[in-house]
């Protein structure tokens, strides 16, 4: 048993997710990602069962582990009670801890997620926050969202929301002391540490690729990973 496998075994999601696979392929048959990408959760489970660190390292650096949508459809159907979706979460965690995620195009996208939903959670207490979901970055949201964005305060008021104001209600302003509690939770539990690692390894990669990375969402590197390479 190699070191990487040992680290995976410390993750409760891995312990829960990988019992004994009989390679029936049911997970792959039901998987929505397997229909879209060259992606085979059965094969991932197969590789892990070898416990071979060389193959696991390759996997952690590959595109493959980033194709899953974590829908957990495979969990319902696996006849052996495995959870490929949970195994993927454990693999992605380790890939980021080791700094391997920047080796793949899809893995590099972690920085975009950290700088959007991750930052919004810390800054506002919401993983998604309407004032920052721009119509320009979201053409699929259509004319209705463009209109809402133009009149956001009024639309929210009309529908009984409490946008950016104190008190209860839809999109209320979460009190600063609560946001401080969330920040402290991130600090104590390793959330901020994960964020730092994503930034650190992405910076190294950006330098290697000759792209400016900046701090926010308008750098060359961000555009490259967010829009596709």
């Amino acid at each position: 048993m190699g070191k990487l496998y040992e680290r995976l075994m410390q993750d409760v999601r891995f312990q829960e997710g990988l019992k004994a696979c009989i390679h029936c392929g049911t997970c792959t048959a039901i998987c929505p990602a397997a229909e879209f990408y060259v992606y085979d959760p059965r094969q991932i489970v197969d590789i892990l069962q070898t416990q071979d660190d060389r193959q696991i390292e390759e996997l952690l650096k590959s595109e493959t582990i980033w194709y899953c949508g974590e829908c957990m459809s495979c969990v319902t159907r696996c006849p052996r009670g495995n959870a490929p979706g949970l195994i993927i979460i454990a693999l992605r965690s380790l890939s980021q801890e080791m700094g391997y995620f920047t080796e793949s195009e899809k893995g590099r996208q972690q920085l975009a997620l950290k700088r959007t939903v991750g930052q919004w959670m810390l800054d506002y207490g919401y993983c998604l926050y309407a004032p920052l979901i721009s119509a320009k970055q979201h053409p699929e949201q259509g004319p209705v969202w463009e209109w809402e964005q133009k009149h956001l305060g009024d639309v929210m008021d009309r529908l009984g929301a409490n946008l950016n104001r104190p008190g209860p209600g839809v999109l209320r302003r979460i009190p600063p002391e609560s946001l401080e509690e969330i920040r402290r939770i991130f600090e104590v539990t390793g959330g901020l540490d994960r964020f730092d690692k994503i930034e650190k390894f992405s910076r190294i990669k950006a330098l290697e690729m000759g792209l400016e990375i900046g701090e926010g969402t308008d750098s060359e590197y961000f555009a490259r990973i967010y829009l596709g390479e």
Binding site: S178, G190, E229
Partner: protein, 356 residues
């Protein structure tokens, strides 16, 4: 649909849902995209059913979208969830109701993890204490908000002004139901009806007069996939999942879609717009698109609330043809009025959407 066999399965998946005194936590997706749905949910519970449902303004997102985007460790999410439980404990509640399906799945996962690995619960308690000085009790009952509407579906039917029936033909409306993946695919016993034949939305449709339509890809994911939608480069996967569902349901002529996850209705609504732009294709009757509703919105509609009060103007797919079919009166002039009757301009109707 072979209903007998399914009724036997449903009997096995009964779930305890608290009757009153709920601690409510909101959904970030629903707040952003369907604000009126949460407003009408609270209105139904408080004003119509006389229930006690409490919201603490200090609660936050459960961090589930960060967790399933894999940018934070499990320990962070477990502790954010422990904080939500702490707010519930402080307020003297034991019944936890969440508006979001991702959250519902995650609360279930965290509580199951704590059951199997009690040391992880101790760890979350210690992290929470260290970070905030708080302590918490685990809820006695955790329900998704759709479980609550399901529980009171008969009371709602008794007070309903409209039914899911075509006023002209007298026929029941053909309804597709779509269940969010995280409602019961991980823990079938935590959803009403289980994972293969969830009953939570069917119960509402049947009770309110509609006919449930079966189709091959009924349990396929809407395609959210977290990073698969949130990063623009990946959105093709998200769209293709929804397309697969629409192609599969089309031959069964559905007239409306009912959902319990906050994300699915947004995707099923918006991707219809995108397909109409990309391929000139629509999936509803007479070239229309198919309106997609949340259970709160549909409950509000049958109860006779004004469609513009419950937020149907922020759907991309126009709902007017369906309102007419059901005989629900509405004032088109008021659709885009803001607070105090102020006109806010109108979004353009997508070129390939028909709205008679």
């Amino acid at each position: 649909m072979d209903i007998e066999g399914k009724r036997n399965i449903w009997k096995e998946y009964q779930k305890e849902i608290a009757d009153d005194h709920y601690f409510y936590v909101r959904s970030c997706v629903r707040q952003n995209f369907f604000p009126g749905a949460e407003t009408v949910f609270l209105r139904i519970l408080r004003d119509l059913l006389n229930k006690d449902i409490f919201e603490n303004p200090s609660h936050t997102s459960c961090s589930g979208i960060c967790y399933h985007s894999d940018i934070i460790p499990f320990e962070t999410t477990m502790t954010v969830i422990a904080r939500q439980f702490s707010l519930m404990t402080d307020a003297g509640y034991k019944n936890f109701v969440t508006s979001c399906i991702t959250s519902f799945g995650l609360y279930s996962e965290v509580m199951e993890t704590w059951r199997h690995f009690p040391e992880k619960k101790d760890q979350a308690r210690e992290f929470l204490r260290k970070a905030t000085g708080r302590d918490f009790e685990v809820p006695v009952n955790v329900a998704h908000a759709s479980d609550i509407i399901f529980k009171f579906r008969k009371e709602i039917a008794a007070k309903a002004k409209y039914r899911l029936i075509n006023r002209e033909t007298g026929k029941p409306l053909r309804v597709v139901e779509h269940i969010g993946c995280h409602y019961s695919k991980m823990f079938p016993e935590k959803g009403i009806g289980g994972a293969e034949y969830p009953y939570v939305l069917i119960g509402m449709i049947e009770e309110w007069g509609g006919e449930v339509v079966d189709y091959p890809e009924r349990r396929h994911c809407c395609g959210f996939g977290f990073r698969q939608y949130l990063v623009r480069a990946n959105r093709g996967l998200s769209l293709s999942c929804s397309k697969k569902k629409f192609d599969s349901m089309e031959p069964y002529h559905p007239e409306l879609i009912l959902t319990n996850c906050p994300g699915c209705p947004m995707f099923l609504d918006r991707w219809q717009y995108v397909m109409s732009e990309m391929e000139g294709k629509t999936y509803g009757p007479d070239g229309e698109a198919i309106p997609v509703f949340t259970y709160e919105e549909l409950a509000g509609l049958v109860l006779g609330y004004d469609p513009w009060d419950i937020g149907l103007q922020v759907h991309q797919v126009p709902v007017e043809p369906l309102l007419r079919k059901m005989g629900i009166p509405f004032d088109p002039e008021k659709k885009f009025l803001g607070p105090g009757g102020k006109f806010m301009g109108e979004p353009q109707l997508p070129a390939n959407f028909i709205c008679k």
